[in-house]
Structure formats: C-alpha cells, structure tokens
Point group: D3
Chain length 325, copies 6
C-alpha cells in the first residue's frame, strides 16, 4: 500500500502527490518573499515554506493545486514540517483529482439528494416550492459538493448538503411537536439558509472565502439570488410569501453580531436559527469528543464560546457513533 | 350563566368570588399603608387598591386567597381597576377552591403522567432511573400541579409537567437524529431539570418566589435533592453517574448570567439547555402571536431579548393551533 | 389668521382640519377596542383617544389621513389631549393636502436636486454612475419627499434628500483632505446609502415602518434594488465595481448591532459610515440644543447613547443658526 | 550544599530528585505521543518533553510524582528546558516526600489553626457553629494542606487556610466598623466559603482540577456538604439559619460570570464576596510587585482584568514586607 | 408641637415653612411653562406643580430656597402631591435656615474633625501631609458640611466627611493586616478622594450638580486643586510623591465606565477604590434594609446593579443599629 | 552608498551605527538577565538579545541610544535577528543624531507651523487664543517633534503636529457645513487635544510611555497645563470659557473605556472626538492598504476593532497617494 503523509517520520525523505490546502505569499521581516504552504492528502496535513518565491510561484502553487512534493520531514519548534526540495504542479492528464485527497461527509450524495428531494415535496406553498427548485437546479452541483465552512463544522466535502439534511430531520420532528409551525416555510428555510455559501466559498477542497463572501456574505448573497429567481420566474415581487422567505434567510444567524441584518421575526425564523445552531454544535462537540480520551475534557472549543466538554469514562453511545473527521 | 370578571363594564358594580393573584403591602409617599391587589378568576385579571391596610390585612388578603369582592369597575389612567367597597375571605367550607379560578395546561394530568412514565422506562442507567423515580415519588404531587414560572412561559397550572413533557418529545426526536447522544441521560435531565421549582415557587396558583427560591434557586435546590436522595438510596456518592446527573441540572440554564454555576460540559447538557430554551421560546412566541392580529407584530417580548414577531396575513398552522393562555 | 392646534388652551373647544400622525388600534384591559390617535398640523401635535372603535374605524382613521376634528382640549395627567366629539375623513376634493401640515427640510427641493445632480456628475466610474442615475430616476419622487426616519433625525419632509446632501458636502471636504479616497465611490455611496428608506418607510408624513422595513431593512432593500438595476442595465453581475458598491450600502451602519450584515471593509465604506453618523449626530444635537435654555443641559438623547449636551451661556453660532424642528 | 534546579546552566548535565508539577500526554502533529512535563523542586521549575511515551508512562509520570531526573539543561526558543536522558519514579521508601519540594504559606499551620479556632468560638449561632466545626473536623486535614488555587493567588501549600485566616482578620475589623453586620454569619462564611476546594482540587502539590471541580465547582460542592452535614447532625433542614449559611457560600463569587448561581442577597454575603476579592487581590498584586523593579510596572495581571501596577521608586512598606512566592 | 409635612392627610390644607429640594422649569406639551417642585422639611418630601410660571419664578423658587407653602394635600396617580395656593420666599431675617430642614450624618462634626485630624497626623510623607492640610484648610468648611452625593449614599448634611471618616477606619484595619501597604498614601487618598465634590455639588441641602461637576467631575477637579496647591506651596511639580497622590484621586472610581481616566495602578489606589466602594455599599444596603420588614427583600437597588437584599426574620445586629435616613 | 539594516541577508556579518528603538531587561526562566533589544535605522528594524546583561548594561543601552552594532544576521523561528558580537554606545561627538534614523511625517515642519498658526488666528475668543498661544510657546519644540503615539497611527517624527494639522483641515470644512458650530472652540480643541502627549511620551524617537503617561494620561496632563497657564496669565479661573476648553480636552476620547473622564457634552466636543477618530482611522487604514496587494485584504487592524480592509484590484486614488510609513 502507498505511504501517505501521516506515515513519514522525522528525517525521512518523501516524494509523493498531495494537494495544497492553504497557500499564502508572505514577507520575511527583511522583505524577502516566500510561500507558507500547507499540504494535505486526506491522511493529515503538514506545513512547509517555499523560500524565495515570487508572484508567479504564488499563482502556480495556489490553494487547491495538486502537486508532487519532494522533501524531507523535520521537527521544527515541536511541530513537524517539510523541508521542500522541489515542488511540481501535477497536470490534469496525470490521473489525479482532488476527490481522492479530501474527506467527505458521512452519507452518500445520492442518498442525501433523494432525502432532500422528499422534503422539497413537502413544501406546499407554490412560491417557496418554485424558488427552492429553481435554486437547487441552478446551484445543485456546488450544493452537494461544497463544505459548510472553512473549519468550524461540516468542513468536509458535501458538508453543506449533509448539514442541510440533518437540519431537515430535526425540523421534521420539531414541527410535529408544535403544530402551530408552518412546516413548508421551515423546510424551505432549511434548504436555502446556507446555499449562499456556494458563492461565499471558493470550492469543495482547500476552501477559502471569496471577495463576495467577505464583502457581502452568504446571507445577503442568497437573498439576492432569491430576488433574481423571483424575477426570472415572474413571481409577484411584492408578495408576502416572498417577503417571508427572504426574512428566513436574512435572519438565520439569529444575532446581529453574527451578521444577521435582522433578528428572527417569525416563529419559523426563530426555529430555523436554533436548529442551525443546534446541528452545528452537535457536530463540533461530537467531533471534539471523538478526539478526546474517556475521562478527559476537550480543548476549549472556540465555536462554542470557549466551552470545554467532558467525555465520560463510560459512554457507549459515543463509542458506537460514526467518526466525523 | 354566571358573570365573570371580564364581563363587567366601567361603572358597573360587582359582587363576586375571585382569588387574589398578587398582594403587596405598600406605603404611599406619606407613609400610609395600603394593599396593592390583583384579582383574577380565570377569565382575566384586574387591579385594585385596599386603602388604610395594616399588617393583619396583609396576612388575611395574601396571594392565593379566595375572597368575595364587592366594588365598582372604573377606568383609571386608561386601565380598568376596581374601587373596593369590601373584601371578605371565603372560608374553606363555602365550596370554592383555587382550581376553578386558575388556567391549566392544555393536556390532561393523567395523560401527561402516563407519557412521562413511559419516558422513565427508557432511562436504562440504574442510578439515574432510581433517582428520577424517587424524586418523582417524593415531589410528584406538586410536580403535576405547579406552573413552570411566574409569567414568562408555561405559567399555568400543570405547566411544569407540560413543559417537561414537551421537552421529552423534542429530546426523543433529536436523540434519534444523533445516535452519539446518551438518551437515558438526556431524558433524566429533562425530567429533573426544573423540578426544583416545587421548592422555588409557592404553589400552583398566584405563585410567588419563596425565600429558598430567591436565595438558592431551583438549580441548586434540585441538586441538593439529588444528593440527599442518593444518600437515602445508599448509592455511591462519588460515582461518575451521579456526577453527570448533577451536572445536567446545574448547567441547564446554559449561561452564567442565567444562574448556571457551570456551563454545559457534556453533549447531553448542551442539548438539555437548548431544548429547554427552544420549548420555552415556542410557547412564549406562540402565545404572543395568538394575541396579535394577522399582518401585525407582537409587542417586544422581554423573554426574547425584546424581539418582536410578525403574524403573517395568511397562516393556517397558527390559526388552527390550540389557544395557550 | 386661522387658529392652529398650538393656539388652543385647556377647556377650549375646537373644530379644525388636521392630519393623523399616528393611529393604533388598542384594547383596554377589558377587551374593548379604541383608537389611540395623534393629531398634527405642523404647529405641533396632540393626542386623543377614539373610544369604542372597530376595525373599520381603524382603516378609515389610519396614519396619514386628513380629518376634521371636533372636540375639546383637556389636560390629562399633566399632558394635553383632545376629548373627541367627532371625527370625519376629509375628502380629496376638499382642497387639503398633507403638504400643508408637515414640516419640511430647511432647503428647497429644487435647490437640493440641482446640488445633488452636480455631485452625480462627479461620479466618474460608469457602473456606479449608471446605477445611481437609474435608481434616482426610479425612486426620485419619493427620495425628495420622504423623511430620513421616524423620529431620531431629519424626520421632516424632504429630510432624506437633505441628509444625503449634507453628507455629500462633508464627503467633498474630507475627500479633498485625503487624496487616497476614491471620491466617486464615496459620492455614490452617500446618494444610495439610505435610498432603501423609500421602501422601509410608508411615506412623507405620519411615516411608519412597512413590513418590508421591519423584516428586511433599508440596507438590504437597496442592495436588492442595485442588483435588479444591474440586471436591467445588462451590467456585469460579477464585476468588482458592482461588488464594491453593494458593500458600501450593506456596511454603512458600521456595526453589526445596528443591522449591518458586514462591517466596513473599504476605506470609503468606513468614511461613509462615519459621515452618516456625524451628520445625524450634528442634526440631533443641534435640534436638542435649540430647545434648551443657555446655561442648561439637554435631556439625555437616546440617539446619542443617553448623553446630555450643554448649551453655553454665550454661544452666538448656535443663536444664529437656522431652527430645525 | 546540594545543587537545585535553579543552579544549573545551559549545557550542564544534571541528575537530581524533583517532582512533576504538571504532566500532559500530547500528540505531535504526526500522531506520536509524548509527555509534556514540568519539573519543580521549590527553587523554580523547568519544562521537558518525554518522547515516544505511551499511556503507561502517562500513568507513571503523572502530576505530583517524585522522580529522579537525568538529563541536560538546554536553551530552546529563549526558554530553558531539560533534554531528558532518563526518568525514574522514586519509591516511597527512598526518604523523599512532596513537602520538601513545595512552597508553603508564610505562616505556620499550628498558628493558623489556633487563630482560626479562636474565630470559631465567636460564631455564636449554634447552627452555624456546629456545621463549621463538623466540616472543619471532616475536611480539616486537607483544609490546612491545600492551596487556594492553581495559580492566581495563594497557590502554595496551606494557602487555603492562610487565605481564610487573612479574610477573617479583615472581617474582624470591618464588622467592628459596621455594628449592623452579623459577625457570626460573616465569620462562618469566611471559614466555609472556599472549603469546597478540598474536593475541587487534587491535592496540596501539583494541584489539578478534579472532574467534580470542573463539572460542579467548589461553591456547590460545599453547599452539598453543608446539607449532608445538617442531615447527619439532625438540624432543621428548612430553618432560616441553614438557608442563610447556604446562601453565603453559593453567592460568594459575587457575579454570575464567576460561577455564583445567586448574587449576594445579604449584607454579610456582599461583604464576604468583597473581602474574598480584596484579600486575593492584595496577594496577587503584592506578589507581582515583589517581582518588579522599583520605578517599573508589573506585567498585565490577568487576575486583575489585565491591569498593571507601578512599584514606586521609594516604597519602604513593600521593601520590608515578607516575600510571598 | 408643630405639624410637619408628613403629618398631613389627603384633603387637608397646609400653610408651613419648608424648603425647595428640587426645582425644574418645564413645558407642558402645548408649550406652557410650569415649575415642577419638590418640597421638604426633614420629615419627608412631597411634590407640587407651580403652574403658569416664568423665568423669574424659576429664579425665585430655585432649589434650596426656603418658602412659605400654602396649599392642599391631594392624592394624584397614587402619589401624594400639593395643590399650591401660594408660594412665598422666606426672607433671611425671618429666623429660618436650611439646617433645620436637612438630615445630618449620624456623628457630630466636631467629633469627626478630631478623628480625621488624628489620621492626618499619621500621614508621614511631607508632600502628602502638606497638601492634605492645605486643602482641608481651603475647603474644610464645605467638606464638613456637604453630602457625599445627590441620592445614592451619604446624601445627608456632613455625609462627605462621615463617608471619609468611615473609610479611614476601614483603611486603618486593612493596612494593619497588610504591612506592605503604604499607610500614609492610603490615608491621604481617603481624605482627598471625594473632596472635589465641594466643587461638583451646589451645597449641603437640595444639592445639584454644578456645570463644573457635569463637565469636569470631582476626580479631575480635585486633581487640579492638588496641582495648584503644589504650586502655591512651592513643591516639586515633577516629584514622584506628587504623581502618586494625583494618581490616587484620578483612579479611585476603579473603572473607566465610572469616570476614572486611569485604572488603579498602585496597590494603595486599588485599596482606596475598594474601600470607597465597600463603604458606600454598606451604607446603601443598610439604609435599604432599615426600610424593609424582616423576612422580606428590599427593592432592587440601582446603586448595587439592581440587586435585592434580604432582611432575615431574626437579625439583632441590624435591629440594634443606628437609623441612617 | 552605505548599506543599511534592510540590506543585509541571512548569514551576513554587519558593523554599523543604528539606534535602539526598544530595550527591555528580562529574565530567562533560570533567572539570568538579558536585554531584549530592537535596533532600527529608518530602513527597518530587527531584534537581537544581549545575553548576560546587568542593570548597568540596561542603563547604557536604553531606548533611544545610538550604538555601533557588530554582529551577524540570522533567521530564527522564521524571523530575522541579530546575533550580537559587540555593542558600543556612540558618543555625542561622533557626529550622529537620532534625526537621521527616524521616519518623519510627510509634510515639512515649517509648513505645518505656518498653517497651524493661521488657524490660531481664527480663534477669536481671547481666553482660548491666549491659552493656545501660551502652551504652543511653552511646548512648541516638542509639539513639532514628537509622534502622536507609539504605534497605532502617526507614529513618526512630527506626527503629533501632522495629525493636529490634518484635523484642523477637516474641522475647517465641517464647521463651514454646520454654521451652528463654534469654530474658535473647535480649532482650540484640535490644537490642544493631544498636546499632553509631550508629557505622556518620552521623545520623538524610540518613544515610550512615561510614568506620568501611565498614571495620569495625556487628557488630564494637558488639563492641568491649561489650569496652570490660566493662573499664570491671571485669567478668571471660574469663567465658562475656561470650563468649556477644559471639557474639550478631557472628553476628546469620546468614551469612558478610552480614558475620557467625561463624555462629550458640547456639540464641539462631540465633533472634536469624531474628527480625531476619523483622522487616526484614515491614517491607519491607508497605511495598512499601502502594504497590501490589490485584490487582497489587510491583516485585522487592532486599532480598528480587528476589522480588515480590502484593497480593490483597481484603485487609482490609493495608487497615487503618498506612502505613509
């Protein structure tokens, strides 16, 4: 079997095909340029500096590029890194693609598609149903491919759809406990709430924030998409149905400080925000617990206001659960 | 049919049996004492001042007392009040009891008991199961009778059990979506989390905070009960099972500023807090929307950080839902 | 000369044509409906309750309606109010219009138009120039008619344009001090930043927040308008020019808690926010000082974090300045 | 005289008996395990990594273990560390014990006991007196041995008792200035307030937070002890005396964000909180000033909200005071 | 014995000499002027409106004026007020002075002077000693006459000196427990810390904030006084002694949000702040408890972050303590 | 041409005259002393440690000293540093002075003086005019020499005057847009607001906070100077003019948390604060953008609440602007 990044020890030389997870052109203090790179291949990741770089190198070795890495593994300041001997871009005809290097969500794309489509059927309001279908059609390829974020939660290939589906399952149970909830609106909100991330993020692997992502954000990006879809579909631009749906996506971060321009002002918007937060939290805490030994606490989780979580000495439910990342 | 409080108009005189929902002995600026009273009979409530009161009157006409009220309805500063002619304590042998004046939760006590007991069966861990049974036994009478609070949510007779049951239903669905969750611990936490309110509050009707409630609080009060139960049941006082259960109740307010001495440090504790908050929010928002006309916003809801919620012009789910209060 | 609202004393009866500045259908505690009205005629305003109202009355006597008011002026709880004898909607053919009742900004609309158009000429970038012209064309009538808000600042007819113009003047001087500023972008941002208020607010007089205003907000409303304009004008929807302009309007509140989905991320966006805030502050503080006696402090100004401002005993600049409201 | 940790220079080899102050099993990025150790012997401390460790090593070389350390002192990243040649657990029969390695509070245990017992005599209320005596009896051995914390203040052997005693002295003076204060309650509160730390911390040397400490906290831990003591002593579990004492310990952190489930609601509880804070602050600031040169500022003190303190050029009082750590 | 304000009942007419505790010229909504007055005579206070006032009336009937009040006591909106028939300024030769109407601190001025002077003797540093003596000389008359504030604590005649003295007593005990404290600096800080209030407040009775108080504040006002004193006394303006003393007064509010331009950066400054806060808190809580019945809670105390305090059913220390206000 | 600090590469030895920008005596963990130095010569700066230092070395090689540095450039932890061979203080007679090593503001001192003096002419109020002239006279040498801070903005020689002048230009335009503003007061406030920095900072190069700076702060330091100037000039110490000017400087940080003992309470004080903040922000953002490549974001700017700013791909205004640092 092929040796992977994780299999090398200090001092060993390596020559293998990996992808560049992160690439930044930096200055040393004395104004020489170098590329600070992170390599990954699905088994783990490791850093390395490419010295005396120029802008052309930065363009060649950008995030997401597949490269042949020749170098030596070293320990530096207690952390492993690669001393780079040479770096070569792997051509499209050499038979590699990013998929083989990137972790994927724990459910199959086709299964997720089918289950999500079943939820679309339950959106009974024609305005919401048509917009959801239109945007799933327009952005579906990315939607089932992208992660839900850079690092906090669901940062895996297909993570965006997986997060959406898990929320729909929660929404299903909750809306049955509370019959006063408009289930169609809640389902439509779940499906669209993070779809703007197909514009906010750069792609399924080695994802970065785009300029649109940084300057507009996925809440407003999907709102703009809804309005343009409505125009294309010749829907009434001033209908209350359209207004409610826009409010769902614009308020789903729940607090101003998380970038919602409006706070939830519908019972369904409040629920959408809470289900989103709950699903992200369960993912992040579970992931951290799976990397913690029984009887110990996780590191402080930044996504959870710095809280630390305890993994009980005996916890069969967690022991038997599927590994996330 | 008998006329009730709500049926009287300005200027009408009334003579009917009601109960005192709230009673406070106050000074006027020139140091005369009077009782500021709120009367209620299940149809609504109305205020009235009992002038030239003394401590003995305050003791006779305390919160929760059933009285015969003779007076006249007036409008004062835009709000109705009763000009009191006379007030008489109704004796225990006159055939009245508080039950007939107080609103109750929308499900029957016997039904709730049966469903909650079914959840107790699903608590598989013997330590948690025995403590839950012991405390349900010890405090059950009050548990199925008390409200969940003074005013924010579930402030109705049986509201404590109703809130608990609704949370168990949410917990059921959520723990099925996330198999890594220890369902037994989550169910035990749901049942016990607010049980300390049987000590924090004064009773099912016209409820007030007790001194224990104000100085200790229901989180620590139930924690003390758990420890004393464990001692009585000769359980291992240093077992991790006992530790986890205590942490569930002590952390369930989720934030220091809401009186949790510890933040949730278990996945199940985090979920308990969120389910508690979600159920309380759905209740409060629904209740407010039911008192709002379609196409309008509720008043700012203090329990929801001052947010206002919109009742859509068309909203069948809400229209068809059961009226809460 | 005709007597106006401000000219009546306690106990005097009046019969005059005014407009309804604010109208709210409310319940008394015993569930009777009434309309809480505020009447105004440009000389001042006064409240009055219309008892035993129904929904039809609420529709007839909505905010912005011109009415013939017959009643008596009374003092109630230290504040004057009208005891209403009768109320009649004035028909469109009776020769009244709202203009004569509402205060206007201190500069003439035609002068403001000319000066603003001069600034449009200075927007050299074709994308920004075309969008600004298109939206001024589409919404210009409202833009020169609406106030900039309900109460905090520039709450006068034409206040929106007046506030915009005053900002452009500040932006002019500031961009000359700092040549690194892109003046075209700053001017375009000034003109568009609050234009979404033509959708957020209900009109020039007796203005209210619309449902769109409450659920979407003027920042996102104008962003949607920019995108739809770009589509109509066949501009490149993915150009950086379009991105920068959208960011200007989306970030201009400067802080998340004021509803900006993004914080200013351009030097020009930072300046736009600060000029907006500065102009609003100068207006609000000046207005308060003009109502304060020399040697005294204003009331705490809610729009200024509760700060109070001192009017010096000698202050010729203020004495000579134009009265705002 | 024996050479101690502090006496070695870079490059020198050493072989001496020390104790492990802190031990953590960590992964390198490539998933190899090592122990990150801190060694100490009362003269100072120094770090060192034990490579290629396994769980058994982690158990052998846990915090608080006395070991024979053979290695070489090196400078790494500007900080000294030990390159470990070998590490051996020192057996109980080799004549060492932790006491000789750990700094102690600046007063003798017997003196502190006598003075604290004198304060117990002044607790006149029988409920408080009996509970204080009972718990001092039950936990006294640890109480006079443990530190008051891991690092912030009084982190020395016997620091818990020393902090308690210093607070009693402050409480004595303050309660004489304010005769309205219930001195018995304040003294009882001082003695019990931090006693839960005998359960929250792992021991006198190389102390760590226990799972109980992290999940329950010393405020609730001592509250539980009070309730169980009351039960054992057959005191009235519902008496106001018991309620007041529980409130004292539960509220003594003074703010929700510091883990108090209730804010001080008694004059004596407010004072307890302030005296606790004052004594801890004086200790931490004095300790920092003693490590600062005259005419300079301390580093920002995290325990004091990041404030820095100035040591005057001339300050005889400080010069003459006893060195703390 | 003479009847005082508190002795009158609703409907009774009165004609007695009182002083104006507070006077504000206000507009009714229809722009008529009136004076909102509060009358007091040491037995209590009561409000009344003087209608149709003009600026001359406002000048005549300003805060602190002694008047003959002729009117009738009425109940208005649940609070008593005076319907004023006539109001006459009492001349200086009619034998009244404010002293007889204003409550005083519970210790005699001469006793306080003597005890404070004894503390001055203990200030051993000549710079601090001379400045303290100079400023006590310059402002002593006001210092022993003024209150320490408008309402929060020590709002009685002589309250400023009483608060200072009580702090000195605390400082005495605390500095004996911690020998590292520079007692001279702490005593000097106690005496000067609030002395700027002789400029910030308008006088011993019916005290108001002066313009200096509102725009500069007592921390900086006393700092300016110290600098000017140093100049007059020909002290070294750049000495560290002078610097330390200025820092003491400038930082004594302890937090930026309370108007300290610098946070405490000396051990003694930290203690000064805490002793100040402690003494003010004990006063405010005691005062509130003395107005609360045993077994009840005080109202929320705004000066204590809204906390409420419980008065135990049995509390001899409080029962026997001197009544404050 | 002479080689400067920036011209050396890793491994090269150097022997050149530079100045010490920052010097700190530190302990290694094993209590050996060393000097952590930063060297600079206007081309850039670089760090180096001087081992085995003592207090005498710390005095010789303090911040601001010109030295002959002999050593070797090395890369350490990704950052360049100097391995020091020897260090020698350059005597005053060797022909060097700090000026040649320190960056200066982008306008000439003489030009700035002339323009600032023109603004002084426009201060029409004699009190303000005389105080401004007096203090410019007294502190002018430093005022035109010092930076405006250590690092955030205008941290260059003459930066204090340059920042002041830039604010005056803004103030000029703004006061023309708002005639209600007292221009004299605003100009006087601009000139004096930061003049206390001549006491708060240690000098034009390698500037540090003085003890006065840390314990009093430049707001109060200039306030004290104003009072002492007024005394020297025999102005009325209680005049309102003097009061207004003191308030301007004391409130100009605008918020308590930035060390203003009072919030702005004059329209002109509010404007002064905003113009100060605006000018500092424009400087800091421009400076950061000038170090950022087109199409990228700056690092998070700590002085701007961590915001990051985008440099558009096309931005002629910025491209053509003068380089700041």
């Amino acid at each position: 079997m092929l040796k992977r990044l994780i299999d090398y020890n200090d001092g060993e030389e390596l020559d293998l095909v990996v992808y560049i997870k992160n690439s930044q052109l930096r200055h040393t203090k004395n104004n020489k340029l170098y590329l600070a790179l992170t390599f990954a291949d699905g088994s783990g990741d490791i850093r390395g500096n490419y010295w005396d770089a120029d802008q052309r190198d930065a363009d060649s070795f950008s995030s997401g590029t597949i490269v042949e890495l020749n170098g030596k593994r070293e320990e530096y300041q207690g952390r492993p890194q690669i001393k780079i001997y040479s770096l070569r871009v792997v051509g499209p005809d050499e038979g590699y693609d990013l998929n083989q290097f990137v972790k994927s969500a724990p459910e199959k794309v086709d299964d997720m598609k089918e289950e999500i489509n079943n939820y679309v059927f339950k959106i009974l309001n024609p305005t919401w149903n048509r917009i959801v279908r239109y945007l799933l059609e327009k952005w579906g390829k990315r939607f089932y491919d992208y992660p839900a974020g850079k690092s906090n939660h669901h940062a895996v290939r297909g993570g965006l759809a997986y997060h959406t589906l898990s929320m729909l399952r929660d929404a299903d149970g909750i809306s049955r406990n509370y019959p006063q909830v408009n289930q169609s609106l809640l389902f439509a909100g779940c499906i669209l709430h993070d779809m703007g991330k197909v514009l906010e993020l750069s792609g399924p692997a080695a994802t970065q924030y785009t300029a649109e992502g940084n300057l507009i954000g996925h809440l407003v990006l999907i709102d703009e998409q809804i309005m343009m879809a409505a125009q294309k579909l010749h829907l009434d631009l001033e209908s209350e149905d359209l207004l409610l749906l826009r409010h769902m996506v614009l308020s789903h971060h729940g607090k101003f400080e998380y970038g919602s321009p409006k706070l939830p002002g519908l019972l369904e918007a409040e629920l959408l925000h809470r289900i989103d937060d709950l699903d992200a939290t369960v993912y992040a805490v579970t992931n951290a617990l799976q990397h913690t030994k029984p009887g110990n606490f996780t590191e402080p989780l930044m996504s959870q206001d710095g809280k630390r979580f305890y993994r009980p000495k005996v916890d069969e439910a967690l022991d038997n659960s599927r590994k996330l990342e």
